[in-house]
Structures are given as structure tokens and as C-alpha cells.
Subunit: 171 residues, 2 copies
């Protein structure tokens, strides 16, 4: 099981960023995203609509207490942070595990999260985005195989084209 | 020169997404981002502040007429779209070029863009994010070397840590 934990979601500031984090989680092969902060039914609705249309069993769940989840998980805990050890040096160790809980921070991640994590990992030591950090992490973890994933029970599917768009819809 | 063209930026809907696209462009080794749509001084200011603090010669420029830019560039034109040919099949051809103009769409990309592009490329055929598409594209293009980039004249720099945060500031 590959699970994501998105910390401190804020309805006003993060609506599209959190949606993009969730869609990356799904598209790049994770099974579930938890999020804390503001309970946001519109976020859940956006993600569930994509799942219904494009397939998979991907789930989204709001949790009030992320520390409780972190303390109770049996998965290896990965905290994605620009302050952590470089992904390219650590990924071979992490690839050995089957079950991960990957933490994606908000603005200020409490130091407790760093201490509870098995690995604090940086995707470059430069500021960019939680969306790109998660994508690159999962891309390295799944060795590029995730780019070819087929999803269960889609209602719509794309056939790649040199130019233009081709979609097939299933009823 | 690796340049990005972000189409149809909208101040109300996209402020943080466009900022993240620009920061990914910089962090993953591109030289410049152009954007069209709404002229947004706050976006430019956010990006320029990061450049000043974290280094590099990365530039951001607003353009009114993206088609004119596309028609006049001498770079190979890459349109990132979920409808294009799979990245993993095309990247070896694209790696041979030194100069790229990489187009990142807004909501509705006109079919003219598909026709003017040398390569329409998909990073999975699933919905996720322009932020992650650009990151994965640049990561594959630069073969992971971009993760180790050092930037010119930074005022702040991170030293990776197993746990916690270490930054050095330069005056």
C-alpha cells in the first residue's frame, strides 16, 4: 500500500494545489490520500469525480489527527521536505519497502513530523512544489513503470496521438 | 536554452499553480518561463524573489501573443498534453536537441498549438497537473542530473539533514 498524507490543507489557499497533489498520487500509482487541516468536501468531490471517470480504486479521506495516523501506521514513513537527504542517494534503500506513508507538508511542518519519519527526503534542495516532489518521488520509486499504469473500470480513456486528441468513452 | 511557455494564466484561478510551474522550471534546470493570459505582477514578483534569494539567472516574461513566439522560435517545440505520445517512448529522440520551447497548457489549448508543435508529449494519459508533467519531463530530459544542480549567487542554501533543517545564509 502506498498512502499519501497531505498536511494542513487550507480551503482558501490550497484548493487546486491539494487537488493536483491528490491527482498525482492517483496517476502515479498510490492507493490512497489522507489529508488534514480544513475538511473540504469540494476537494473530495473533485477527486472522486476523476476516479469515477478515469478508473482505479483510489481513495481520499479527511483525518483530524495526522500525528495519530503517523504513530499507528505499520508502513515506512517518508517525509518529503527540501531539508531532507537527497532522493537520488536514498531511493535504493526505500525501494525495498512495499508499504509507504508519504507525508507532504503544508507551510510549516512541525519538527515532530521529522522525528517520527523513517526518512526525510528532499527532491532537490530548492523551492518548487509539493506536486512535483510527490511526482518525482513516485516516479523514482516505481522506476518509471507507473507511466504505463492501466486503471480499473474507466469510463474514458485516451489513445495517444502524434497531433490532436483521441478519447474513447465506455458506457 | 530550455524555455517554458505557460499558456492562458488566470490571476483568479491559477496564482499558485503558475507560481509552482515557474519554480519547477527553475529548480529543474530551465532558463526562462514565458506566460500568456493575464498579466500578473504578483506572479512575477514571487518568482523574482525566489531567484534573488536562491540564485540562478532564471527569468519570467509576460507575452501577449504566444502563437507569435511559437512561430518565431528556433527551438524544438514540445507541447505537454495528456493526449500526446507517451514521454517514455519519445524522450530519447528529444534528448538529442539542445534548445526546447516547452508548452504547458491552460484549460483549453487550441488545436493550432498541437499542429505547430514538433512533439505532442503525454506524461501518462491520466489527469494530474501541469506542475508534475513539467517536472517529470525535465527530470527525464536531464536524466536526473538536474537534481544535483547548483545555482549561481544564492543568498540561502540548504545542507541536507537526516532530520531537522539546516540552512546557510550569505550576505
Amino acid at each position: 500500500m502506498i498512502e499519501i498524507l497531505r498536511l494542513s490543507h487550507r480551503i482558501r489557499r490550497d484548493p487546486r494545489i491539494s487537488t493536483h497533489v491528490a491527482l498525482v498520487a492517483r496517476a502515479f500509482g498510490a492507493d490512497k490520500i489522507y489529508y488534514s487541516g480544513d475538511h473540504d468536501l469540494a476537494l473530495e468531490d473533485s477527486v472522486n469525480k476523476i476516479v469515477k471517470q478515469w478508473g482505479s480504486n483510489f481513495q481520499i479521506e479527511y483525518i483530524k489527527d495526522p500525528i495519530k495516523l503517523i504513530k499507528s501506521t505499520k508502513s515506512k514513513i517518508i517525509n518529503l521536505t527540501m531539508y531532507g537527504l537527497p532522493l537520488e542517494n536514498e531511493i535504493s534503500k526505500i525501494k525495498k519497502f512495499k508499504d509507504l506513508l508519504i507525508i507532504i507538508g503544508g507551510e510549516k511542518v512541525p519538527i515532530e513530523i521529522y522525528k517520527l519519519s523513517d526518512y526525510n527526503i528532499s527532491v532537490t534542495q530548492q523551492p518548487h512544489s509539493e506536486v512535483s516532489s510527490l511526482a518525482i518521488f513516485l516516479h523514482e520509486f516505481f522506476k518509471g513503470e507507473e507511466l504505463k499504469l492501466e486503471f480499473k473500470n474507466p469510463k474514458v480513456k485516451i489513445t495517444p496521438q502524434i497531433s490532436g486528441k483521441k478519447t474513447t468513452t465506455f458506457i
